[in-house]
Symmetry: C2
Subunit: 216 residues, 2 copies
């Protein structure tokens, strides 16, 4: 159930975890809440976001099965976490996890590796937000989801979009209209085929990879 853990760690960790479930759109915690737990997604997807004073929102990441969230050395969560779909997670109390870290130094190493991976993803996202066009953003996003499905051993072909257009916009720094229009134009250009509103077939993935990296 807590798939992403190394076997030797798993044994000790199962003692302190609790399974939790959440319905779609339910919040898991809010930015500024005391960070009492760390979570691992086991099923469904979660979005993480930050808000500006006037309501503008930036989604900093979507979490899928195997991903950790709530990692923070500080005492407060720095973003809000909200269920995109119905989700199942396992929850680790930070206090107990800290005790475990004392006894099991390898755990810190593992958490460091996870944090570094997130950091690499965050830097890619900065490049996307700061310097890519709407089309490049959408294509990069679709490829990121496709890679995620691959990594988790799921079927790659119809890329699944569990989140709303609003969420996609708030992740890519675009409006919902631009998201919709860009998907339509990719569809008209034959680069993708939509199956309903939440499944996408990528045609010529190699060419899409080039668009995302802005190879001229």
């Amino acid at each position: 159930m807590c798939g992403a853990l190394a076997p030797e760690e798993l044994h000790q960790l199962v003692d302190i975890l609790t399974d939790v479930e959440l319905s779609a759109h339910a919040p898991l915690f809010h930015e500024g809440d005391p960070a009492e737990h760390v979570f691992n997604v086991t099923r469904g997807s979660i979005k993480l976001y930050k808000l500006l004073g006037d309501g503008r929102r930036q989604i900093t990441g979507f979490m899928f099965p195997g991903d950790f969230l709530g990692l923070a050395v500080n005492s407060e969560y720095v973003y809000t976490a909200e269920a995109v779909t119905d989700v199942k997670l396992c929850r680790f109390p930070r206090r107990k996890l800290d005790v475990l870290r004392e006894r099991m130094p390898k755990l810190d190493r593992r958490l460091l590796a996870l944090a570094m991976d997130e950091l690499v993803a965050a830097q890619d996202q900065m490049l996307l937000l700061g310097r890519k066009t709407a089309e490049e953003k959408i294509v990069s996003f679709l490829l990121m989801l496709a890679r995620g499905q691959e990594r988790r051993g799921e079927k790659v072909d119809p890329v699944h979009l569990p989140m709303s257009r609003t969420d996609i916009g708030d992740y890519l720094g675009l409006t919902i209209e631009t998201v919709s229009r860009t998907l339509s134009s990719l569809r008209k250009a034959g680069a993708i085929v939509m199956e309903g509103t939440d499944r996408v077939h990528l045609k010529h993935r190699d060419r899409l990879e080039e668009v995302a990296a802005a190879m001229t």
Copy 2:
């Protein structure tokens, strides 16, 4: 010289470090290079950036004395590091650092804390890049520099801009013209006073904080 380290770590680390110096604009390493060293800035400032295929650039961070760079679990650097000013750093060979990590589990914990701090900063930057206006970006940037100077115990008042307008633009997802125009309009509005091209006095810092957080 390697200020930012805890005393008990410092003792063991000094054995494996080498001091290095770099002139302004000299590259320290390139994205894709084998990640053989970790660095700690002791003097001056460094910029980290990623490039798209056609030359568009996103600076993912500026590093100042006390900051670490080159941290990566993978074998390759994921960004290019280049001196903004003349810099002094201390360099740790990754191989030796890894050996030290085996013997000194607290080191992983410390690196984890550093990585988490960077992650928090990265998420703030995503919010900035995705959802803030040019003015909010510039104001946020000036405040970030001011806080950095405070944190390092430097004089706060004239905020120092060691980097070029191009660098500021590539960090904030703007063009140099927009950076220049926005600084001019802040100056005309009396929010800042420029002293030459690389020193800024912030007036009404509290009001600037509100602009950066988009309090309406």
